[in-house]
């Protein structure tokens, strides 16, 4: 059977497809996670891997995040390319000693004689009343740390290409799978090509204002851009793709060109993405207008559907803010 040149896949299928492609290509790649081979586990993003490659290359493990990251570091030091899947980024808090003190630092500690090519996928996302402990977007604490790469794909095709780069990267890479980008399908080449880290994508061209977005907020930013175009505001939307490395050049060039910027973040404001973008811009140039940051409320996520709704930015309100702020 000849496979078609283009496939239409949703995020989960795109992740599975990419893992299958790379696992077939590179026998050093393997995947593991808590309950990983359960039906529907990880929102279907590991479906069928065990069937295709055997349970030796896609295996279930006990609940022990710290040891599980250690498992990845040690095998990575031996030349393997482990992929640890964590159902929620919040659960990685149990593994911070291994991630920050070990995965990120082991290369430095040896004078850069070793690499730790470990990939950690972790889900984040809003909705369904999961409250404070199950909806965190704790990615900026990783993005602060040298030695790590932090990736936040905005769509299925982006997820595929960026994951492939993670799998091939020699650094420990945290790939944040945002529930907000699951669901809808998108066309992509059947042979996935890697998308380089640190290169933002122009999701929409524009001249008056730049929207820097990441993860599921890219779609949100595009919606805002559409909405304000009617008022004569031409917004450029940049999908940053990776929070570390960050595409400083593109950020600065676009900011210099439009002189007006807004940041669309999935996390908290303080020491977060809008802060980092402000730094990147402010270190090189000046703005004509104050920076606008769009982000979840600076508090832990409530469970109630009513409160949760208020926790996240609302399209109408943001559209209104953008209009008054920049026009």
């Amino acid at each position: 059977m000849i496979s078609p040149a283009t496939l239409s896949l949703d995020y989960a299928a795109a992740v599975v497809h990419t893992l299958e492609q790379e696992m077939a290509f590179n026998p050093k790649v393997f995947v593991y996670g808590e309950g990983i081979n359960d039906a529907g586990a990880y929102l279907n993003s590991t479906d069928g891997l065990a069937a295709s490659f055997g349970e030796a290359r896609c295996f279930d493990v006990p609940n022990c995040e710290d040891a599980l990251v250690g498992l990845g570091i040690g095998s990575a030091l031996m030349g393997y390319r482990p992929v640890f899947v964590s159902l929620r980024v919040d659960f990685l808090m149990l593994a911070m000693n291994q991630i920050i003190n070990h995965a990120a630092r082991w290369p430095a500690m040896t004078g850069y004689q070793v690499t730790v090519p470990l990939t950690i996928r972790a889900l984040i996302g809003r909705g369904w009343g999961q409250a404070a402990q199950h909806s965190g977007a704790l990615y900026s604490m990783f993005a602060n740390v040298p030695g790590l790469e932090v990736v936040l794909p905005s769509s299925p095709a982006e997820g595929a290409g960026l994951l492939l780069t993670a799998l091939r990267s020699d650094k420990t890479t945290i790939v944040i799978d945002d529930r907000g980008v699951f669901g809808a399908a998108e066309d992509m080449p059947s042979v996935i090509e890697p998308i380089p880290f640190g290169k933002a994508r122009v999701a929409r061209a524009g001249t008056d204002v730049t929207f820097f977005a990441i993860s599921s907020m890219t779609r949100f930013a595009l919606q805002v851009a559409e909405a304000v175009s009617a008022s004569g505001i031409s917004a450029e939307v940049l999908d940053l793709r990776t929070a570390r490395p960050l595409d400083k050049e593109t950020i600065r060039a676009s900011a210099a060109r439009t002189g007006r910027v807004a940041v669309f973040d999935i996390g908290w404001p303080g020491f977060g993405l809008s802060a980092e973008i402000a730094r990147v811009i402010s270190e090189a140039s000046v703005l004509q207008r104050p920076l606008l940051s769009v982000h979840r409320r600076d508090e832990h996520t409530p469970s109630s559907a009513f409160l949760e709704d208020e926790h996240y930015p609302k399209l109408d309100e943001v559209v209104h803010r953008v209009k008054t702020h920049f026009s």
Binding site: G40, V61, N63, L87, Q130, H134, S303
Partner: protein
């Protein structure tokens, strides 16, 4: 059965309340006014009720993602819990907690963590508070067998033992973490034996029999309280429901079905089991049992109706869009 008639009925009543609330969730969930993950305790009610029935009111407890039974068995208000499930401000956590973070200051139910084994170290601190308060209260920390995969669980046990803190760690072993069996997660599955290797007093008991749980817990609580040393109670029972979501695997509460099922002394349904023990040992309580089985669900159903109406009311101003049909979330 080592209890008075009043206590026997009290235990049954509490278990039926828990079951009725969870059956209410199953019934109402598809209407999508309850929005959020729910981890039911169907099949596990006797563990919560047995332990907390012999606790003092001023003993403090903490729980996990599967906290309904603990909250209710500790004396948490039924209506406030249901309001919380509906995301109302009148909920026991003011709508911030939802199913996984019930809280009741009055009942000394100090909350629940949905990250493993997060409330176990917190229980150690509650134990320190009890000890410093010097009033003889004990901290009870509930966890599952999956939490005992995590290193921090044993770290907490050791710390409590080293500091000689009055903590009863109750590990509810349903043999599963989501769907992964215990033996696939722990090379040695005897959790009490591990606790003993860490220097704690530890026992294993059958968790389907509320009276057996009660006896085991009473013995350990007495030791913990009198010696200010922690102990572990490992209980085994079956999760007769999905890991998460409104899926029960037992027949709905109904006096006749339960009386039939109660005839089987090997039943894994703690309510049927309890009814069976009562009918065999205190047959004169048959009528009381039937009353409980009949009346409690009605009262609970009324609370759901009230809360559902309040949700609709509240949503008139909020105008939330109904979510898509509930998907079975695996975790």
């Amino acid at each position: 059965m080592n209890v008075t008639a009043a206590v026997a009925l009290e235990c049954l009543d509490r278990m039926v309340v828990i079951r009725a609330v969870e059956e209410g969730i199953c019934a109402e969930y598809s209407h999508r006014n309850i929005r959020g993950p729910v981890h039911l305790s169907i099949g596990q009610e006797a563990m919560a009720v047995g332990v907390l029935n012999v606790c003092r009111e001023d003993d403090v407890a903490v729980s996990t993602h599967r906290d309904h039974a603990h909250y209710l068995a500790k004396g948490g208000d039924v209506g406030a819990m249901i309001d919380e499930l509906y995301g109302l401000e009148t909920g026991c956590s003011h709508g911030y907690g939802g199913s996984m973070h019930l809280f009741s200051r009055e009942a000394n139910f100090m909350g629940a963590s949905a990250v493993l084994p997060g409330s176990t170290p917190v229980a150690v601190g509650l134990g320190l508070g009890c000890k410093l308060d010097g009033r003889g209260a004990v901290a009870v920390g509930f966890s599952g067998d999956g939490a005992a995969d995590e290193g921090s669980f044993f770290e907490a046990l050791n710390l409590a033992a080293v500091l000689r803190l009055p903590v009863l760690f109750v590990c509810e072993n349903n043999g599963l973490s989501t769907n992964t069996p215990l033996a696939a997660r722990q090379a040695q599955t005897d959790i009490s034996a591990k606790a003993r290797a860490f220097g704690l007093v530890a026992e294993t008991a059958e968790g389907v029999d509320v009276f057996a749980v009660r006896d085991a817990a009473a013995g350990l609580l007495h030791q913990v309280r009198s010696t200010s040393q922690p102990a572990v109670l490992a209980l085994t029972a079956d999760r007769l429901c999905a890991h998460v979501g409104p899926v029960s695997k037992v027949a709905a509460l109904n006096p006749q079905t339960l009386l039939d099922e109660a005839a089987d002394p090997g039943s894994r349904d703690p309510i049927a089991f309890c009814v069976g023990v009562i009918l065999r040992e205190l047959p004169e309580l048959r009528g009381d049992c039937i009353d409980i089985l009949r009346e409690v669900p009605l009262k609970v159903a009324a609370e759901f109706q009230r809360a559902d109406a309040a949700f609709e009311d509240r949503n008139k101003t909020a105008g939330l869009v109904a979510p898509p049909p509930p998907k079975v979330h695996t975790v």
